[in-house]
């Protein structure tokens, strides 16, 4: 197992090299370069001026030279400075990652806490009215576009309901991270935490709906498959309580594919959620990466994408190792 893990870790080195090369090439091959927009701000600029600026930003060099310069610095722990934010790319990503993990982590937890019990409940009561209701809601959740749901929830809680209830402020805010002026120093920790939670409710719910719906369906089908197995019939035949049959024998086995699915979803927590973050003005990784790609801020885009590639490779490895832990039939050598 240890040898296998080490071998997989070593394989990640060439993998990350090729991934970083591919990402750098794709980012650099986007049409246009970061300075072409300048001519629209200042038509006085001559080609010589633009050439000088390209030289100043190192954009006059061929892609492969730029890539190896970037790689050389990255190997020394220097991921460069964001051209648009003037901050070290690693520091910028670190701040954004914290915000993203708060949002995606909570929505991930909420989705899990709802999806697994509801999926089991739905499977155990297959073809009953509650099962139909859960199935219907799952399909609604699965097919509802996030941007639409986000805006509708904001309208509901910030406009319609306050109007009906005669409030002059929203029940939940229209996006944002915290209320302006609310910080622990000025209002105290309790009020500050309440404010942060108040701001988290709608984005966390919006982001979790899709996972909730798909994981509910997945849990339902996984549990249904296990419930038809011989050992479940045996467990029931020997007189075990239904609760024990479901939670001890069925659910534990049904969880094996779910653990894999959930494990592979973990890198997604770090990449953020562009649409949810944009709608709710949440300063996270998704928006930062999207903006960096649009504005051709190479250092930020590279740092973020290579880090995500590393996490994907790492969590793939962890998911593979988790198979061996949850399923005794699997052994790595």
């Amino acid at each position: 197992m240890l040898a296998y893990t080490l071998r997989r870790l070593l394989q990640m080195i060439p993998l990350l090299f090729f991934v970083s090369l591919a990402i750098y090439t794709l980012v650099a091959l986007q049409p246009g370069d970061p300075l072409e927009g300048l001519i629209f701000q200042n038509p006085h600029l001559t080609q010589e001026d633009i050439a000088e600026l390209k030289h100043a930003y190192g954009l006059d060099q061929p892609i492969h030279i730029r890539y190896f310069k970037w790689l050389g610095r990255a190997l020394q722990g220097d991921l460069g400075v964001s051209r648009t934010y003037a901050q070290p790319a690693a520091e910028f990503i670190y701040h954004r990652m914290q915000n993203t993990l708060l949002l995606t982590g909570l929505s991930f937890l909420l989705a899990l806490l709802v999806a697994i019990p509801v999926g089991v409940f739905s499977a155990v009561r297959q073809y009953s009215l509650p099962d139909y209701v859960v199935t219907f809601l799952s399909f609604v959740g699965y097919s509802t576009p996030v941007f639409w749901l986000g805006i509708m929830l904001m309208l509901l809680f910030a406009v319609w309901l306050p109007d009906r209830l005669g409030l002059d402020h929203p029940i939940f805010p229209v996006g944002g991270f915290a209320s302006p002026g609310v910080d622990p120093q000025s209002v105290g920790w309790a009020a500050y935490l309440k404010d942060r939670i108040w701001h988290l409710v709608l984005p966390v719910f919006t982001l979790s709906v899709l996972s909730m719906a798909s994981w509910t369906r997945f849990t339902r089908s996984s549990v249904l498959e296990v419930l038809s197995q011989d050992y479940i019939r045996t467990a029931r035949a020997k007189g075990l309580a239904e609760r024990v049959v479901i939670y001890k024998h069925a659910l534990r086995n049904a969880l094996i594919p779910i653990v894999t699915l959930v494990g592979l979803a973990i890198p997604g927590l770090f990449s953020g959620a562009v649409i949810t973050e944009t709608i709710f003005s949440w300063p996270g990784m998704g928006r930062a990466l999207f903006d960096a790609l649009l504005e051709k801020d190479y250092n930020v885009a590279m740092a973020a994408l290579v880090f995500l590639a590393f996490l994907t490779a790492l969590f793939n490895l962890l998911a593979d190792l988790a198979y061996a832990v949850v399923d005794p039939r699997i052994r790595y050598s």
Partner: protein
């Protein structure tokens, strides 16, 4: 309900109350759809976004500002330098070039927010950094032409050689707080000196940006690294969310009735999704919108208009963004030659065939005015007597017939060329894919042009493609072959460079061809008289004489129509009832920033006196509806 639940709800509502201020606590919440990356990047080494300029109006004062009527107004300087008051000296330096020396005097009562007096040291520091070799400045011409002579603590002379008329519009030079930035600059200079400017240019750029980052990023500003000279100071910036500004007690202008009658705290909320911003306005969480906020369609959304009564006003302020179609006039491109796009008669016929007023009425309720030339109707040099092109398809047909076009059996014009080929009038139309307004516009005009026998072939691509050098600048090689719709931003200092073929002052040619390495954005319209008038206007510092040249240039342009002018975009702003002096005009603060005179913004109910009337500078959308 349990007691604990009530406590939670009370807490949340308390937090909601903090977020929703307004006249109650004499504060203001402005909603913006963009967020600046840095604030206080005095040299634009990192960024020069419009939203940054709008917010910087709250925080820093310049020597002068452009007032609501588009005129220069003294700010930190004692008076606006002019030839008449002896502060501007114009010298002929031969070869048709001029030099100007502009003498400024700083006011005696101006201080940075930490109490340090603002002096010529701050001007000299700004100059020293911007002029330093390797500085990644985004307007190299300005820094090459400028020089500075400090006379004493309060007086200095800024010179430009060669000088152009726009050097006298607005502040001739900036300033930066020397006493807080000097030490870091000395460290940066020492680092730069170790590097080779040729080999290490990118590293030097990073050092300049790193220097700015020590003061202008959210983290640095939150640590109080920078001082302010404007009516407000920055209290806290939560990146990606909001920025809080509070009144600067050291600011030298007292608004009518006293500063306490005007807003004391301003919060910018950055809501990048404009639909979410619209919901925030509907929910009452935003008192006014920034100049970078809702789209024009959203500002006229029925939900917003229905809810406006008794709550807010919606204004459309004519802006300086000129929506138009460039025409490829390079006759070496076969399609251009076949369609005779290089002939003014063809372009005139196209304009007569396009119902621009109909477009503006249909899509914008007439709120975005049709453009006659590239000069804005609010510009002091505007010529209202130029040739106009009202919708007249019959006239278009006649012109096209005089050029040899005949209607084909399929309803498309056709003609036989001199070399015996039969060509049909199939016109390529390019614009930025995904821009719904432009896509609607081209379909509207496609329909108009079809009526006169012109088939429009739409060939859109994403903005990153159409504005890339290989596409945009290579019309000579036929990268685009007909019309290309996009917008130029023509500020109050526009110098007609976009339509200049030969620059008689610099000797450069602005028609992008392989000969000049595709420099310039004039797609092959060369009119010698226009270029000569422009060369005279560029070095004419007498506004009346310059107006004469400019008006003649407009007459020539309107006759030749090198591009097809569509309309001037209007900026929508939403302002809660009772908020005064949060007003925009075409040239306020150069580009219509409602924050140019931020010290006057206040709530009428708190005693703020209305100084400006938005109705004079914009159209009330609610009255139009």
């Amino acid at each position: 309900m349990k007691k604990k639940s009530w406590a939670w709800i009370t807490g949340l509502l308390l937090a909601a109350g903090l977020a929703f201020a307004g006249p109650g606590n004499n504060s203001l919440v402005v909603g913006a759809s963009q967020e600046p990356r840095v604030i206080g990047d005095f040299w634009s080494f990192v960024s020069s976004a419009a939203i940054a300029s709008e917010i910087e109006n709250f925080l820093w004062a310049g020597l002068e500002y452009i007032d609501i009527n588009g005129k220069d107004h003294a700010y930190l300087a004692t008076e606006v330098p002019t030839v008449e008051n002896g502060r501007v000296k114009v010298t002929d330096i031969g070869k048709g070039k001029k030099r100007i020396d502009i003498k400024y005097t700083l006011r005696d009562d101006i201080y940075w927010s930490d109490g340090t007096p603002i002096t010529t040291k701050d001007v000299a520091f700004y100059y020293e950094v911007g002029k330093y070799p390797g500085a990644p400045v985004q307007d190299p011409s300005y820094w090459k032409r400028i020089s500075l002579k400090v006379l004493d603590d309060k007086n200095f002379v800024v010179s430009f050689e060669p000088a152009y008329f726009y050097d006298l519009v607005g502040s001739a030079i900036g300033l930066a707080p020397e006493h807080v930035m000097r030490a870091e600059w000395e460290k940066t200079k020492a680092e730069i000196k170790k590097l080779d400017p040729k080999k290490d240019a990118a590293k030097i750029t990073e050092l300049f940006q790193g220097f700015v980052a020590k003061f202008a990023t959210p983290q640095a500003l939150n640590q109080g690294k920078l001082v302010f000279s404007g009516p407000f100071t920055l209290k806290k910036w939560v990146p990606g969310s909001s920025m809080e500004l509070v009144r600067n007690k050291r600011f030298f202008i007292t608004p009518p009735g006293g500063a306490d009658k005007y807003v004391q705290r301003v919060t910018y909320r950055f809501i990048t999704d404009t639909n979410a911003l619209l919901v925030a306005i509907l929910g009452g969480g935003v008192d006014a919108t920034s100049s970078v906020a809702l789209t024009f369609d959203q500002a006229r959304a029925p939900q917003l208009v229905r809810r406006a009564k008794g709550r807010y006003q919606i204004w459309a302020v004519p802006g300086v963004i000129w929506e138009h179609a460039e025409v490829n006039k390079f006759a070496n491109v076969q399609e251009v030659k076949d369609l005779m796009l290089d002939k003014k008669e063809t372009r005139q016929a196209l304009l007569y065939a396009m119902n621009r007023q109909g477009l503006v009425d249909a899509f914008f309720d007439g709120l975005q005015p049709v453009a006659d030339t590239w000069v804005h109707f609010q510009d002091p040099n505007f010529n209202k007597n130029v040739k106009k092109y009202p919708y007249d398809p019959e006239k278009a047909k006649k012109i096209l017939a005089s050029l040899g076009w005949k209607m084909g059996p399929d309803g498309i014009l056709e003609r036989t060329t001199k070399d015996g080929r039969k060509v049909k009038f199939v016109l390529e139309y390019v614009t930025t894919a995904g821009n719904r307004i432009r896509e609607r516009t081209e379909v509207f005009f496609q329909n108009d042009l079809k009526k006169v026998g012109i088939k429009v072939k739409i060939n859109n691509a994403p903005a990153s493609v159409v504005f890339s050098n290989d596409f945009f600048s290579k019309a000579y090689d036929g990268s685009w072959k007909g019309l290309f719709e996009f917008a130029w931003l023509f500020g109050i200092v526009d110098d007609a460079g976009v339509f200049t073929c030969h620059d008689y002052l610099t000797g450069e040619t602005y028609v992008p061809t392989p000969k000049n390495n595709y420099s310039g954005v004039n797609f092959n319209w060369c009119n010698e008289e226009f270029d000569r008038l422009r060369a005279k206007a560029m070095i004419e510092f007498d506004a009346n004489k310059r107006r004469e040249y400019w008006q003649k240039m407009q007459a020539i342009w309107a006759e030749e129509v090198p591009a097809l002018p569509y309309y001037w975009r209007s900026n929508p702003i939403v302002v809660k009832n009772g908020l005064v002096n949060f007003v925009s005009s075409t040239y306020f603060g150069s580009f219509g920033y409602p924050t140019t005179t931020a010290w006057l913004i206040g709530w009428k109910s708190r005693g703020a006196k209305p100084v400006y009337d938005q109705a004079k500078y914009g159209i009330n959308v609610l009255e139009q509806k």
